[in-house]
């Protein structure tokens, strides 16, 4: 079996295990490429029947409009149910405070975990890949979270063969990562093979951007540019899709899937290293956020 067929077969197996073992699973869906691939795999796993899960989006309030449009269109197309946990609601209520640096990524944890508790989700699919980051590299496929959604890397269940242990007590849930063994390149090659549609921001286009901390950020009402920062029109694309305040663009001419794949294969920067400000906050930024319940 080819590399991609093996990964696909493994991911489908994981989706079906969750369908067989859990009562209320949900798929985290942001309109980013990893969650789009997850949804595609779920559709294949349960064909010819419908996907037996609903979707959940943590909306930071600073999302790319093209991505929200894609999200809503996709949900409608497949007749799925979408839950939204809104960071903006929390800020408006005063439960969360805007950070001085303007990034809302770390603020997602509370709306996410409260939504999981409120809806009593017992399995939450995430698109996290172990190749993304060194703390993610330690993540299990089935990751038990306590009633506070906390990840304790020193108390993870050993995971053997393909025997995933989803046992949990009431109030606890399991995070499930079907793309654990995929790399960024695998995801792109699979998108190309399967002809999956993506939001346009993944392909090179002209956009108003400004530079902050060495990254090109999209100018907009969310809070940029500030004094001393100037807008430029550049030919860019995004390698990851997240909150506009911390997701950087890369200079690119890649307008086709093939060109994107060639560009990634040649890049000397990792996906997150190139485009995520939040991972650069400290050596253990991701681990610390995951411990608190981040995905």
């Amino acid at each position: 079996m080819s590399h991609l067929d093996t990964l696909e077969s493994e991911a489908v197996h994981i989706f079906r295990e969750v369908a067989g073992e859990f009562e209320r699973p949900v798929v985290l869906f942001s309109g980013g490429k990893d969650s789009i691939v997850m949804l595609h795999l779920a559709l294949k796993a349960f064909a010819p029947a419908a996907v037996p899960f609903s979707l959940l989006h943590v909306d930071t309030g600073h999302n790319f409009p093209e991505v929200l449009e894609y999200r809503d269109r996709t949900v409608k197309k497949h007749g799925l149910r979408l839950h939204v946990a809104s960071v903006q609601d929390y800020i408006d209520r005063g439960t969360l405070k805007e950070r001085p640096d303007g990034t809302r990524n770390p603020l997602q944890t509370l709306p996410l975990t409260e939504k999981i508790q409120a809806e009593r989700f017992d399995a939450v699919f995430g698109g996290g890949r172990r190749d993304e980051e060194k703390a993610r590299a330690k993540e299990r496929v089935f990751s038990l979270r306590d009633e506070f959604s906390q990840w304790d890397p020193r108390r993870q269940r050993p995971e053997l063969w393909n025997l995933y242990n989803g046992r949990h007590a009431a109030g606890e849930h399991v995070r499930v990562f079907p793309l654990s063994n995929w790399t960024e390149l695998d995801v792109w090659q699979y998108i190309a093979r399967e002809g999956i549609e993506l939001p346009e921001i993944y392909f090179a286009h002209e956009r108003d951007v400004f530079q902050r901390a060495g990254m090109w950020l999209t100018a907009g009402e969310w809070g940029g540019p500030k004094d001393g920062e100037t807008i430029e029109k550049r030919q860019i694309r995004y390698r990851t899709v997240g909150d506009m305040s911390c997701t950087g663009a890369v200079d690119s001419d890649a307008v086709t899937l093939h060109q994107v794949i060639t560009e990634i294969a040649a890049s000397r920067l990792t996906e997150r290293g190139a485009t995520r400000a939040d991972d650069k906050m400290s050596e253990a930024a991701m681990e610390d956020r995951k411990r608190e319940g981040y995905f």
Binding site: H13, R16, G20, A49, A135, A137, W161, Q189, T262, E287
Partner: protein, 426 residues
């Protein structure tokens, strides 16, 4: 760091790296504390150009903060705060890299005795294990333990990497002595064979590039060996085993969804459903949306049968003359994983393929003392319902199980079914 704004093209791009049709080697590492395992993995990633600029910059930065002049490659893989603080690997981490010939999934597992269970975890899906020894110390107790686990889990390929050859003057006789010593243990353990390679992870000898310091060694560098070992068997030669994961109902039809654990299935094949014993024939096979005549392990697929049988999650569909053993008495080799010991009389859950059943521990080699964390032993279980079992030696998927604590869901023990005569005399 302005470099983050551009994805500067690499000049030595090998476009074959992006071929989607290459195969994958899943392998694991094992070694004692301070054998330099993280350094070896770091060297493998670094010298195969799998470490990207921002990752290397992060390591250089962290190394400088610790007062080191040269980048500590171990920091590439020790991903947890506690690991970097203590300078040891605590938990298994997975790494991904590719060469023109193959893609690799590496389970980087800790060497410390108290984390042996993590080595078991890594070895359970590995087709190759690298057992690392320090050339100055040779084969130590942990080496024998790692070899025993590799033998128990039937990892098809073993590499004995004799590291720190630079610290023993690159002497052939030091290497030969260790290989001979290890061969003695391997024979006792029934290891199928092993490939010894002298390396220096720190200097980079024989990891990716052949060493200029050891003319006497004529074998491959480690990466060359990883690129060339055969992976995957021929599923057509194996008995067909299809654990049912989920039943998809669509209109009048019922599609049995699962991943073929071994062998192959064809439309028209006569099949038996275990444990009920019902028989039928395959009416249709769908591999993720595509109708096919024949499917192979490890494909995920759905089956339709010609007869309306009662089939649900946990059942196993098989075909061919080699039926699995249907039994409530399970004998197996085990590795105990949990901190709480396992005793005779304990009530447990057995998770075998997609089936979970209650069981009681009838017998243990450890006797009254019980099995403790990281202990290897033998076990006899009595299950509440029959399981369709294969010898682990014949099929890793249908011969493996885990024990789960019914009280809190903890994974307790890894088990490998042994249907042989020897097992009866625990």
């Amino acid at each position: 760091m302005t470099s983050t704004t551009s994805s500067a093209a690499r000049t030595d791009v090998d476009t074959s790296v992006i071929r989607p049709d290459v195969d994958t080697l899943r392998f694991a590492t094992a070694g004692s504390v301070d054998d330099g395992k993280s350094t070896l993995v770091g060297r493998l990633l670094h010298d195969s150009k799998s470490v990207l600029t921002d990752q290397l910059e992060a390591v250089e930065h962290a190394s400088r903060n610790r007062g080191q002049d040269t980048p500590d490659l171990a920091l590439l893989t020790d991903g947890l705060r506690a690991e970097r603080e203590q300078g040891i690997t605590i938990d298994v981490a997975h790494r991904y890299f590719a060469t023109a010939k193959r893609r690799f999934i590496l389970a980087d597992t800790p060497g410390h005795v108290q984390y042996t269970r993590n080595m078991v975890t890594g070895a359970s899906t590995a087709e190759l294990t690298i057992i690392l020894v320090d050339a100055r110390n040779g084969v130590v107790e942990q080496t024998r333990r790692h070899a025993a686990i590799a033998a128990l889990l039937r990892v098809p390929h073993i590499v004995l990497a004799v590291n720190k050859m630079d610290l023993v003057g690159y002497e052939a006789k030091e290497f030969d002595r260790i290989v001979e010593d290890f061969a003695g243990h391997a024979a006792e353990l029934d290891l199928p064979g092993f490939t010894p390679i002298p390396v220096s992870a720190l200097v980079g000898d024989n990891v990716v590039d052949r060493s200029a310091h050891m003319d006497w060694y004529e074998g491959p560098a480690l990466l060359e060996h990883l690129e060339s070992v055969p992976v995957g068997g021929d599923p057509r030669g194996e008995p067909a085993r299809f654990p049912v994961q989920y039943v998809i109902r669509h209109g009048e039809s019922r599609h049995y969804a699962g991943q073929l654990a071994s062998g192959s299935l064809r439309v028209g094949d006569r099949v038996t459903v275990h444990p009920s014993g019902g028989t039928s024939a395959i009416e249709g096979i769908d591999v993720l949306g595509e109708e096919v005549r024949e499917a192979y392990a490890p494909q995920s697929l759905t089956l339709r049968l010609t007869d309306h049988l009662d089939v649900s999650r946990g059942d196993m569909i098989t075909s061919g003359p080699d039926a699995p053993a249907l039994t409530r008495d399970v004998r197996a080799a085990v590795c105990h994983l949990a901190d709480r010991p396992l005793h005779v009389g304990d009530r447990v859950l057995v998770r075998h393929t997609t089936r979970t059943v209650q069981a009681v521990v009838r017998n243990l080699t450890a006797g009254e003392a019980g099995l403790h964390a990281n202990d290897l032993g033998r076990i006899v279980l009595r299950t509440a319902e029959p399981l369709a079992l294969d010898d682990y030696a014949d099929c890793r998927r249908t011969g493996a199980f885990i024990l789960i604590d019914p009280a809190d869901g903890a994974t307790l023990t890894a088990g490998m079914v042994d249907l042989g005569e020897a097992a009866a005399t625990i």
